[in-house]
Symmetry: none
DNA sequence: GATGAATGAGTCTTCATTCAT
DNA sequence: GATGAATGAAGACTCATTCAT
């Protein structure tokens, strides 16, 4: 077995275990068992328990960001990009429930985490939203008075809270598509310029 | 000292300590020291460490909900109510930073918490948003196709993520007022009916 | 309420509680509750938890010894005295089950107890047996080669183990009378002289 | 070191510590120190402190029972078997003072122990006595009216109380042999049939 | 590299005892 | 005398991490 394989086996096991119990209630021994490796083996690939959590975040967020950027590059219209972002985010959270739970819940758990570890991947991810907005403002699609820093946070927050709904509840009333459309529409219709509206850009 | 005083002293101390270290990294001994009581005294008022966290949430959220409802009752226009809600939420998170951090971060920490403990206060709080929307829809101010369950989650999520900004960063670029206005506007302008727009209801 | 009453209320409560849980698993708070007094009140009558156990033993054994001695004084024949002792011992253990359990089980629990606290009442009690034997030997009823120190211990042990049977089991196959007769007979028939047997003393 | 060795090291250490302090006054840390292992190591071999006590009883009583049964199998005469049993019991209690103390004192300590944990080994041990009696009755050596359930308890109780004498006192006036002979004789002479007596079976 | 037995520091919780009222 | 809230020392047990094999 290649080194990378074992590294990944541990990461995937840890995602499942962390999602199941939460970071603090998860045991290294449980992760080891889930990954079919010895307890000690984990320490050949990670410095400590906390390092596993960081790595999950770094690596998995890295993949997500790359994927999102790749898909958005295929779209030129900022309005459509925003809709696509919403749909991709919610779809991902639905598909990778366990990863979603770890990122959403565990990542915020300790202020230590968020303070000590300056969360570059997270900033990079939300900046995708900010950049769509700015690009749209430059094209005259979005109102100039919309503050990117506020917009990106509130848009991400809206999606994030919505996805927590899927993560935590077993039965859901709305499809990912429906939710993505609605959330996009609140923000799009709330931020486009009158000019854009007449040109029927960003219409639902 | 009255019993209620000691109960409250411990709660307030716990809020500070949990905000500082996170729930799992907080020690009962530290809370006791912060509250100027003996370790054992805490167990005269709470069943265990976890019970303190639940109590913080129940009691403090109870106060917040009561306060928000009281203020909103003074306003009849749903649009203004939504703006007020946003402002109150963000103001509160700014004023009671430590409580905000505990509610935001620690509350989500353990899926156990969110799954086992069916979070009634939380649902009650977000339902305030849903009710404003429904009331607005009945008055023909908001579009009928806006789904309350999605709206309440995304609106709350937007505010919540924004407030995390204040909780976690020490320097802020935007005032609470600015952020509240922007977020409200995205949602208001994104959800009002054409009729309402012409009547200049919900205008910024 | 007289002082003696409260002292006794606590003692009687402690007997019930110790019998129920064992000494180490009993809580001062539980004894206080059972005695309908405050926790602190117990310390007005006893030095500490251990002192309650000692006192139970001293006082209750004192009563038992006085009672047994009084009854035996009415009988002149050592054989009959031995039978009476056996019957009284087992009857007492049956009647005062809770006290019996405390004396039997808790008293032996800690070697500390048996070593530190030179158990005078216990010695006094078993010496009643030794004295019956010696008296019988002087009268030529019992064999001279029976060693009092061994006899008293084994006779007491036989009764004690038998009574544990009643203390610990809820259903019993034999009556106290039957058991007392049997045990007495083993020892009597095993220790009387040939001369006494011919004279039909100590016959069953 | 083999696993079995460490298990046994802990057991032997626990016997010494429990004998010294009693179960409730013994600390896991003290057992660990006595066994030259870390505190945590104990929990690799035992579920909890109480489990150690149970295991001591199960394992050590198992050895004793096997040994006693083996020796008694070499003897055919029930009278001699009873004498042998008494001698072996007292010898064992003398040789393995610490184990004896744990079994005798700690085992009875908590009614919980005796009630919850249906003491199979103990019943098995005393049943050896009952079986000797029954076998003797079948051979016409012992009186038919002797009740096995009473006999076994009183015989065991006599030996047990006698051995407590050795366990608890440092100086002893009688040899094990003397005590075993005396106790056996009380019961033998008190239970044999007239026929057996004439045949000089069971004579001292 | 891989293992998993061993380690021991760390912490929640209990509860006998005290003492201000 | 009586109370019972408060104390804080003490200890069973856990589990991340190490390291000899």
């Amino acid at each position: 077995m290649k080194v990378a394989d074992k590294h990944d086996k541990i990461i995937q096991a840890a995602i499942r275990v962390f999602a199941r119990n939460g970071f603090f209630n998860s045991r290294i021994a449980e992760i080891a068992k889930e990954a079919h490796v010895a307890d000690g083996t984990i320490y050949l690939y990670f410095n400590n328990k906390y390092d596993i959590l960081i790595t999950i975040f770094e690596e998995e967020m890295g993949k997500i960001i790359a994927n999102v950027k790749q898909e958005l590059a295929k779209i030129s219209d900022p309005c459509e990009q925003l809709k696509k972002f919403a749909l991709m985010h919610l779809s991902l959270m639905e598909e990778k429930r366990e990863l979603a739970e770890v990122i959403q819940v565990e990542l915020r758990q300790s202020s230590k985490f968020m303070k000590d570890y300056r969360n570059k991947k997270f900033v990079e991810y939300t900046n995708i939203i900010a950049n769509i907005l700015i690009s749209g403002q430059e094209q005259g699609l979005f109102r100039k008075d919309v503050v990117p820093e506020i917009f990106k946070r509130s848009f991400f927050g809206a999606l994030d809270e919505m996805s927590r709904f899927w993560v935590l509840s077993s039965n859901r009333k709305f499809s990912v598509k429906k939710a993505a459309e609605q959330i996009s529409s609140y923000f799009l219709e709330g931020t486009i310029t009158s000019a854009a509206k007449e040109k029927r850009s960003c219409s639902r």
